[in-house]
Protein backbone atom coordinates (compact mmCIF):
# COMPACT_ATOMS: atom_id res chain seq x y z
CA UNK A 1 0.00 0.00 0.00
CA UNK A 2 2.14 2.84 -1.23
CA UNK A 3 -0.58 5.23 -2.42
CA UNK A 4 0.31 4.57 -6.05
CA UNK A 5 -2.57 3.00 -7.86
CA UNK A 6 -3.22 1.72 -11.36
CA UNK A 7 -5.66 3.98 -13.18
CA UNK A 8 -7.61 3.34 -16.34
CA UNK A 9 -9.82 5.71 -18.28
CA UNK A 10 -13.05 4.35 -19.69
CA UNK A 11 -15.85 6.35 -21.33
CA UNK A 12 -14.18 9.51 -20.08
CA UNK A 13 -14.33 8.31 -16.47
CA UNK A 14 -11.24 7.52 -14.49
CA UNK A 15 -11.21 4.30 -12.54
CA UNK A 16 -8.86 3.33 -9.75
CA UNK A 17 -8.44 -0.35 -10.53
CA UNK A 18 -7.39 -1.18 -6.98
CA UNK A 19 -10.66 0.16 -5.62
CA UNK A 20 -12.74 -1.51 -8.27
CA UNK A 21 -11.07 -4.88 -7.92
CA UNK A 22 -11.46 -4.71 -4.15
CA UNK A 23 -15.13 -3.74 -4.43
CA UNK A 24 -15.80 -6.49 -6.92
CA UNK A 25 -13.99 -9.14 -4.89
CA UNK A 26 -15.80 -8.11 -1.70
CA UNK A 27 -19.16 -8.08 -3.46
CA UNK A 28 -18.55 -11.50 -4.99
CA UNK A 29 -17.47 -12.93 -1.64
CA UNK A 30 -20.52 -11.41 0.08
CA UNK A 31 -22.85 -12.75 -2.57
CA UNK A 32 -21.50 -16.27 -2.59
CA UNK A 33 -21.27 -16.37 1.19
CA UNK A 34 -24.90 -15.34 1.62
CA UNK A 35 -26.01 -17.44 -1.33
CA UNK A 36 -24.33 -20.50 0.13
CA UNK A 37 -25.74 -19.80 3.60
CA UNK A 38 -29.24 -19.47 2.15
CA UNK A 39 -29.15 -22.71 0.19
CA UNK A 40 -32.18 -24.93 0.77
CA UNK A 41 -33.72 -23.11 3.72
CA UNK A 42 -35.83 -25.31 5.96
CA UNK A 43 -38.50 -24.68 8.55
CA UNK A 44 -36.25 -26.39 11.08
CA UNK A 45 -32.96 -24.56 10.54
CA UNK A 46 -29.82 -26.64 10.29
CA UNK A 47 -26.19 -25.58 10.41
CA UNK A 48 -25.43 -22.74 8.02
CA UNK A 49 -29.02 -21.56 7.89
CA UNK A 50 -28.72 -20.73 11.59
CA UNK A 51 -25.74 -18.52 10.80
CA UNK A 52 -27.68 -16.55 8.20
CA UNK A 53 -30.75 -16.30 10.39
CA UNK A 54 -28.61 -15.06 13.25
CA UNK A 55 -27.08 -12.47 10.92
CA UNK A 56 -30.51 -11.38 9.71
CA UNK A 57 -31.81 -11.17 13.27
CA UNK A 58 -28.73 -9.16 14.21
CA UNK A 59 -29.09 -6.59 11.42
CA UNK A 60 -32.87 -6.49 11.89
CA UNK A 61 -32.13 -5.74 15.53
CA UNK A 62 -29.99 -2.79 14.48
CA UNK A 63 -32.83 -1.53 12.28
CA UNK A 64 -35.40 -2.05 15.04
CA UNK A 65 -33.28 -0.10 17.53
CA UNK A 66 -33.47 2.95 15.30
CA UNK A 67 -36.95 2.34 13.85
CA UNK A 68 -39.11 0.27 16.21
CA UNK A 69 -42.24 0.73 14.11
CA UNK A 70 -43.24 -0.99 10.89
CA UNK A 71 -41.43 1.67 8.82
CA UNK A 72 -38.16 -0.13 9.54
CA UNK A 73 -39.15 -3.36 7.82
CA UNK A 74 -38.07 -2.22 4.36
CA UNK A 75 -34.52 -1.50 5.52
CA UNK A 76 -33.74 -5.02 6.73
CA UNK A 77 -32.17 -6.14 3.46
CA UNK A 78 -30.12 -2.96 3.14
CA UNK A 79 -28.85 -3.28 6.69
CA UNK A 80 -27.87 -6.91 6.12
CA UNK A 81 -26.04 -6.30 2.85
CA UNK A 82 -24.41 -3.13 4.15
CA UNK A 83 -23.19 -4.88 7.27
CA UNK A 84 -21.85 -7.98 5.56
CA UNK A 85 -20.31 -5.98 2.73
CA UNK A 86 -18.49 -3.58 5.05
CA UNK A 87 -17.47 -6.42 7.33
CA UNK A 88 -15.98 -8.41 4.46
CA UNK A 89 -14.39 -5.25 3.01
CA UNK A 90 -12.77 -4.45 6.33
CA UNK A 91 -11.36 -7.94 6.80
CA UNK A 92 -10.23 -8.67 3.27
CA UNK A 93 -7.31 -6.23 3.40
CA UNK A 94 -6.06 -7.88 6.57
CA UNK A 95 -5.59 -11.10 4.66
CA UNK A 96 -4.48 -9.86 1.23
CA UNK A 97 -2.47 -6.84 0.33
CA UNK A 98 -0.88 -6.97 -3.09
CA UNK A 99 1.85 -4.59 -4.18
CA UNK A 100 3.32 -5.23 -7.59
CA UNK A 101 5.45 -3.15 -9.92
CA UNK A 102 5.49 -0.25 -7.52
CA UNK A 103 1.70 -0.11 -7.54
CA UNK A 104 -0.83 -1.23 -4.94
CA UNK A 105 -3.19 -3.71 -6.57
CA UNK A 106 -5.19 -4.97 -3.68
CA UNK A 107 -6.17 -3.83 -0.20
CA UNK A 108 -9.42 -3.26 1.75
CA UNK A 109 -11.87 -1.25 -0.32
CA UNK A 110 -12.91 0.59 2.84
CA UNK A 111 -9.35 1.86 3.27
CA UNK A 112 -10.14 4.43 0.60
CA UNK A 113 -12.20 7.56 1.43
CA UNK A 114 -13.87 7.52 -1.97
CA UNK A 115 -15.44 4.15 -1.27
CA UNK A 116 -16.56 4.93 2.25
CA UNK A 117 -18.05 8.17 0.96
CA UNK A 118 -19.74 6.18 -1.77
CA UNK A 119 -21.29 3.93 0.86
CA UNK A 120 -22.29 6.93 2.94
CA UNK A 121 -23.73 8.48 -0.20
CA UNK A 122 -25.89 5.42 -0.80
CA UNK A 123 -27.19 5.68 2.75
CA UNK A 124 -27.69 9.44 2.45
CA UNK A 125 -29.59 9.31 -0.84
CA UNK A 126 -31.66 6.39 0.36
CA UNK A 127 -32.56 8.11 3.64
CA UNK A 128 -33.61 11.31 1.86
CA UNK A 129 -35.51 9.32 -0.75
CA UNK A 130 -37.48 7.38 1.82
CA UNK A 131 -37.90 10.53 3.90
CA UNK A 132 -39.79 12.07 1.00
CA UNK A 133 -41.55 8.83 0.13
CA UNK A 134 -42.84 8.24 3.65
CA UNK A 135 -43.57 11.76 4.92
CA UNK A 136 -44.21 13.59 1.66
CA UNK A 137 -42.35 16.68 0.43
CA UNK A 138 -43.83 18.99 3.06
CA UNK A 139 -43.18 16.55 5.87
CA UNK A 140 -39.64 16.07 4.62
CA UNK A 141 -38.99 19.81 4.48
CA UNK A 142 -40.59 20.31 7.88
CA UNK A 143 -37.85 18.10 9.26
CA UNK A 144 -35.38 20.93 8.60
CA UNK A 145 -37.25 23.49 10.69
CA UNK A 146 -37.92 21.27 13.65
CA UNK A 147 -37.95 21.70 16.53
CA UNK A 148 -37.69 25.47 15.75
CA UNK A 149 -37.18 27.38 12.53
CA UNK A 150 -33.93 29.14 13.39
CA UNK A 151 -32.20 25.77 13.70
CA UNK A 152 -32.62 25.21 9.95
CA UNK A 153 -28.99 26.11 9.08
CA UNK A 154 -27.73 23.76 11.75
CA UNK A 155 -30.02 21.01 10.45
CA UNK A 156 -28.66 21.47 6.94
CA UNK A 157 -25.07 21.46 8.18
CA UNK A 158 -25.87 18.35 10.20
CA UNK A 159 -26.74 16.50 7.00
CA UNK A 160 -23.22 17.15 5.70
CA UNK A 161 -21.49 16.38 8.97
CA UNK A 162 -23.43 13.14 9.28
CA UNK A 163 -22.36 12.18 5.80
CA UNK A 164 -18.72 13.14 6.28
CA UNK A 165 -18.33 11.58 9.72
CA UNK A 166 -20.05 8.39 8.63
CA UNK A 167 -17.63 8.03 5.72
CA UNK A 168 -14.43 9.20 7.39
CA UNK A 169 -14.87 7.25 10.61
CA UNK A 170 -14.88 4.00 8.66
CA UNK A 171 -12.09 5.11 6.33
CA UNK A 172 -9.87 6.32 9.15
CA UNK A 173 -10.15 3.17 11.19
CA UNK A 174 -9.50 0.79 8.33
CA UNK A 175 -6.84 2.87 6.64
CA UNK A 176 -4.91 3.35 9.86
CA UNK A 177 -5.12 -0.36 10.56
CA UNK A 178 -3.74 -1.27 7.19
CA UNK A 179 -0.98 1.32 7.31
CA UNK A 180 0.12 -0.11 10.60
CA UNK A 181 0.02 -3.62 9.14
CA UNK A 182 2.30 -2.38 6.36
CA UNK A 183 4.68 -0.71 8.81
CA UNK A 184 4.92 -3.85 10.89
CA UNK A 185 5.66 -5.82 7.74
CA UNK A 186 8.40 -3.35 6.81
CA UNK A 187 9.84 -3.73 10.27
CA UNK A 188 9.83 -7.50 9.89
CA UNK A 189 11.68 -7.37 6.58
CA UNK A 190 13.91 -4.40 7.36
CA UNK A 191 16.65 -6.69 8.57
CA UNK A 192 17.54 -4.16 11.25
CA UNK A 193 17.51 -6.68 14.04
CA UNK A 194 17.96 -9.78 11.90
CA UNK A 195 15.81 -12.74 12.86
CA UNK A 196 14.72 -10.97 16.04
CA UNK A 197 12.95 -8.20 14.15
CA UNK A 198 11.39 -10.79 11.84
CA UNK A 199 9.98 -12.82 14.72
CA UNK A 200 8.88 -9.69 16.56
CA UNK A 201 7.25 -8.34 13.41
CA UNK A 202 5.57 -11.70 12.80
CA UNK A 203 4.04 -11.72 16.27
CA UNK A 204 3.09 -8.05 16.12
CA UNK A 205 1.42 -8.60 12.77
CA UNK A 206 -0.66 -11.44 14.20
CA UNK A 207 -1.69 -9.35 17.20
CA UNK A 208 -2.53 -6.34 15.07
CA UNK A 209 -4.46 -8.43 12.58
CA UNK A 210 -6.51 -9.89 15.41
CA UNK A 211 -7.18 -6.43 16.77
CA UNK A 212 -8.08 -5.19 13.30
CA UNK A 213 -10.61 -7.97 12.91
CA UNK A 214 -12.21 -6.61 16.06
CA UNK A 215 -12.03 -3.02 14.80
CA UNK A 216 -13.41 -3.99 11.39
CA UNK A 217 -16.39 -5.78 12.99
CA UNK A 218 -17.10 -2.86 15.31
CA UNK A 219 -16.84 -0.35 12.47
CA UNK A 220 -19.23 -2.35 10.30
CA UNK A 221 -21.68 -2.42 13.20
CA UNK A 222 -21.25 1.30 13.87
CA UNK A 223 -21.67 2.19 10.20
CA UNK A 224 -24.93 0.25 9.89
CA UNK A 225 -26.23 1.53 13.22
CA UNK A 226 -25.56 5.16 12.34
CA UNK A 227 -26.94 4.68 8.84
CA UNK A 228 -30.17 3.42 10.36
CA UNK A 229 -30.25 6.21 12.96
CA UNK A 230 -29.82 8.88 10.27
CA UNK A 231 -32.46 7.17 8.15
CA UNK A 232 -34.84 7.03 11.09
CA UNK A 233 -34.51 10.82 11.54
CA UNK A 234 -35.82 11.18 8.02
CA UNK A 235 -38.44 8.44 8.06
CA UNK A 236 -39.90 8.28 11.56
CA UNK A 237 -42.32 11.04 12.46
CA UNK A 238 -41.96 12.00 16.10
Amino acid sequence: MNEKYPYVTFLGLHFNLTNDIAILVSAVIVFFLLFWLARKPQLRPRGKQNVLEYLIDFTNGIVKQAMPGPEGNRFGLLALVLFVFIFVSNQIGLIFQVDAGGLTWFRSPTADPVITMGLALIVLVMSHFFGVAVKGISGYLKGYVSPVAFLAPINVIEEFTNFITLALRLYGNIYAGEVLLLLVRQLAFSGAGGPVSFVAGFLLEIIWQGFSVFIGSIQAYIFVTLAMVYTSHKVVSE
Partner: protein, 163 residues
Protein backbone atom coordinates in the same frame (compact mmCIF):
# COMPACT_ATOMS: atom_id res chain seq x y z
CA UNK B 1 -8.68 11.60 -9.84
CA UNK B 2 -10.87 8.56 -10.02
CA UNK B 3 -13.56 9.70 -7.62
CA UNK B 4 -16.58 9.70 -9.90
CA UNK B 5 -15.72 6.48 -11.72
CA UNK B 6 -15.08 4.59 -8.49
CA UNK B 7 -18.21 5.94 -6.86
CA UNK B 8 -20.34 4.92 -9.81
CA UNK B 9 -18.69 1.53 -9.84
CA UNK B 10 -19.34 1.11 -6.12
CA UNK B 11 -22.96 2.19 -6.38
CA UNK B 12 -23.60 -0.08 -9.36
CA UNK B 13 -21.92 -3.04 -7.67
CA UNK B 14 -23.73 -2.41 -4.43
CA UNK B 15 -27.12 -2.15 -6.09
CA UNK B 16 -26.52 -5.35 -8.05
CA UNK B 17 -25.33 -7.04 -4.86
CA UNK B 18 -28.44 -5.79 -3.06
CA UNK B 19 -30.70 -7.21 -5.76
CA UNK B 20 -28.91 -10.55 -5.97
CA UNK B 21 -28.73 -11.04 -2.22
CA UNK B 22 -32.34 -9.96 -1.94
CA UNK B 23 -33.41 -12.50 -4.48
CA UNK B 24 -31.20 -15.45 -3.58
CA UNK B 25 -30.67 -15.13 0.15
CA UNK B 26 -32.93 -12.60 1.83
CA UNK B 27 -36.23 -13.55 0.28
CA UNK B 28 -36.13 -17.36 0.78
CA UNK B 29 -34.74 -17.13 4.30
CA UNK B 30 -37.08 -14.39 5.53
CA UNK B 31 -39.94 -16.31 3.95
CA UNK B 32 -38.95 -19.38 5.93
CA UNK B 33 -38.56 -17.26 9.06
CA UNK B 34 -42.03 -15.79 8.59
CA UNK B 35 -43.46 -19.23 7.95
CA UNK B 36 -41.82 -20.49 11.11
CA UNK B 37 -43.18 -17.54 13.04
CA UNK B 38 -46.65 -18.25 11.72
CA UNK B 39 -46.33 -21.92 12.52
CA UNK B 40 -45.10 -21.25 16.03
CA UNK B 41 -47.96 -18.81 16.57
CA UNK B 42 -50.43 -21.34 15.22
CA UNK B 43 -49.02 -24.13 17.34
CA UNK B 44 -49.12 -21.97 20.44
CA UNK B 45 -52.71 -21.00 19.73
CA UNK B 46 -53.56 -24.62 19.09
CA UNK B 47 -51.96 -25.73 22.34
CA UNK B 48 -53.75 -22.96 24.21
CA UNK B 49 -57.07 -24.01 22.68
CA UNK B 50 -56.45 -27.65 23.44
CA UNK B 51 -55.62 -26.78 27.03
CA UNK B 52 -58.75 -24.68 27.40
CA UNK B 53 -60.86 -27.42 25.87
CA UNK B 54 -59.38 -30.00 28.20
CA UNK B 55 -60.05 -27.73 31.16
CA UNK B 56 -63.63 -27.14 30.07
CA UNK B 57 -64.10 -30.85 29.59
CA UNK B 58 -62.68 -31.57 33.01
CA UNK B 59 -64.92 -28.98 34.62
CA UNK B 60 -67.88 -30.47 32.81
CA UNK B 61 -66.95 -33.94 33.97
CA UNK B 62 -66.56 -32.77 37.53
CA UNK B 63 -69.93 -31.05 37.40
CA UNK B 64 -71.48 -34.18 35.96
CA UNK B 65 -69.86 -36.30 38.63
CA UNK B 66 -71.20 -33.95 41.28
CA UNK B 67 -74.63 -34.08 39.67
CA UNK B 68 -74.65 -37.82 39.54
CA UNK B 69 -73.56 -37.96 43.14
CA UNK B 70 -76.42 -35.63 44.07
CA UNK B 71 -78.74 -37.74 41.95
CA UNK B 72 -77.63 -40.87 43.74
CA UNK B 73 -78.18 -39.23 47.10
CA UNK B 74 -81.59 -38.07 45.97
CA UNK B 75 -82.52 -41.51 44.71
CA UNK B 76 -81.42 -43.13 47.92
CA UNK B 77 -83.31 -40.53 49.92
CA UNK B 78 -86.44 -41.02 47.83
CA UNK B 79 -86.18 -44.77 48.23
CA UNK B 80 -85.76 -44.38 51.96
CA UNK B 81 -88.69 -42.04 52.14
CA UNK B 82 -90.80 -44.33 50.05
CA UNK B 83 -89.84 -47.27 52.20
CA UNK B 84 -90.63 -45.33 55.32
CA UNK B 85 -93.95 -44.23 53.92
CA UNK B 86 -94.78 -47.73 52.81
CA UNK B 87 -93.83 -49.10 56.18
CA UNK B 88 -95.94 -46.47 57.87
CA UNK B 89 -98.83 -47.27 55.58
CA UNK B 90 -98.53 -50.94 56.22
CA UNK B 91 -98.25 -50.33 59.91
CA UNK B 92 -101.27 -48.09 59.85
CA UNK B 93 -103.22 -50.59 57.82
CA UNK B 94 -102.23 -53.39 60.13
CA UNK B 95 -103.02 -51.38 63.19
CA UNK B 96 -106.38 -50.51 61.80
CA UNK B 97 -107.05 -54.08 60.83
CA UNK B 98 -106.02 -55.28 64.21
CA UNK B 99 -108.25 -52.69 65.79
CA UNK B 100 -111.13 -53.71 63.56
CA UNK B 101 -110.52 -57.33 64.32
CA UNK B 102 -110.32 -56.60 67.96
CA UNK B 103 -113.51 -54.58 67.82
CA UNK B 104 -115.25 -57.32 65.88
CA UNK B 105 -114.01 -59.89 68.29
CA UNK B 106 -115.16 -57.93 71.29
CA UNK B 107 -118.51 -57.32 69.59
CA UNK B 108 -118.77 -61.03 68.88
CA UNK B 109 -117.81 -61.84 72.38
CA UNK B 110 -120.35 -59.38 73.75
CA UNK B 111 -122.94 -60.76 71.40
CA UNK B 112 -122.19 -64.27 72.41
CA UNK B 113 -122.22 -63.36 76.01
CA UNK B 114 -125.52 -61.67 75.48
CA UNK B 115 -126.81 -64.72 73.68
CA UNK B 116 -125.46 -67.00 76.36
CA UNK B 117 -127.00 -64.83 79.01
CA UNK B 118 -130.27 -64.77 77.15
CA UNK B 119 -130.21 -68.50 76.69
CA UNK B 120 -129.25 -68.92 80.35
CA UNK B 121 -132.15 -66.67 81.27
CA UNK B 122 -134.47 -68.84 79.21
CA UNK B 123 -132.98 -71.93 80.71
CA UNK B 124 -133.36 -70.53 84.23
CA UNK B 125 -136.92 -69.57 83.46
CA UNK B 126 -137.72 -72.99 82.09
CA UNK B 127 -135.86 -74.52 84.98
CA UNK B 128 -137.71 -72.41 87.45
CA UNK B 129 -141.01 -73.27 85.80
CA UNK B 130 -140.05 -76.96 85.85
CA UNK B 131 -139.06 -76.68 89.47
CA UNK B 132 -142.15 -74.76 90.31
CA UNK B 133 -144.26 -77.29 88.44
CA UNK B 134 -142.60 -80.03 90.32
CA UNK B 135 -143.03 -78.22 93.58
CA UNK B 136 -146.51 -77.07 93.02
CA UNK B 137 -147.34 -80.21 91.11
CA UNK B 138 -149.19 -78.35 88.71
CA UNK B 139 -148.00 -77.22 85.39
CA UNK B 140 -147.96 -73.58 85.27
CA UNK B 141 -148.71 -71.93 82.09
CA UNK B 142 -145.18 -71.17 81.04
CA UNK B 143 -146.20 -68.38 78.77
CA UNK B 144 -148.18 -66.62 81.57
CA UNK B 145 -145.34 -66.84 83.99
CA UNK B 146 -142.58 -65.99 81.60
CA UNK B 147 -142.70 -62.23 82.00
CA UNK B 148 -142.90 -62.49 85.76
CA UNK B 149 -139.78 -64.66 85.85
CA UNK B 150 -137.98 -62.39 83.50
CA UNK B 151 -138.57 -59.55 85.91
CA UNK B 152 -137.16 -61.60 88.72
CA UNK B 153 -134.12 -62.57 86.80
CA UNK B 154 -133.54 -58.98 85.77
CA UNK B 155 -133.82 -57.97 89.38
CA UNK B 156 -131.30 -60.65 90.26
CA UNK B 157 -128.92 -59.48 87.55
CA UNK B 158 -129.13 -55.90 88.71
CA UNK B 159 -128.45 -56.94 92.23
CA UNK B 160 -125.38 -58.89 91.07
CA UNK B 161 -124.11 -55.97 88.96
CA UNK B 162 -124.50 -57.85 85.70
CA UNK B 163 -125.97 -56.19 82.74
Amino acid sequence: MATLGDTLFLVATFVVLLILVGHFAWKPVTKIMTERQTKVDGDLDYAENARNEAQALQAKREAELKNSRADAVKIVNTAKENGEKQRQQMLDATTQEVATLKQNASADIAQERQDALASAKDDVAELSVAIATKIIGKELNAADQQSLIDDYIKGLGDANGVD
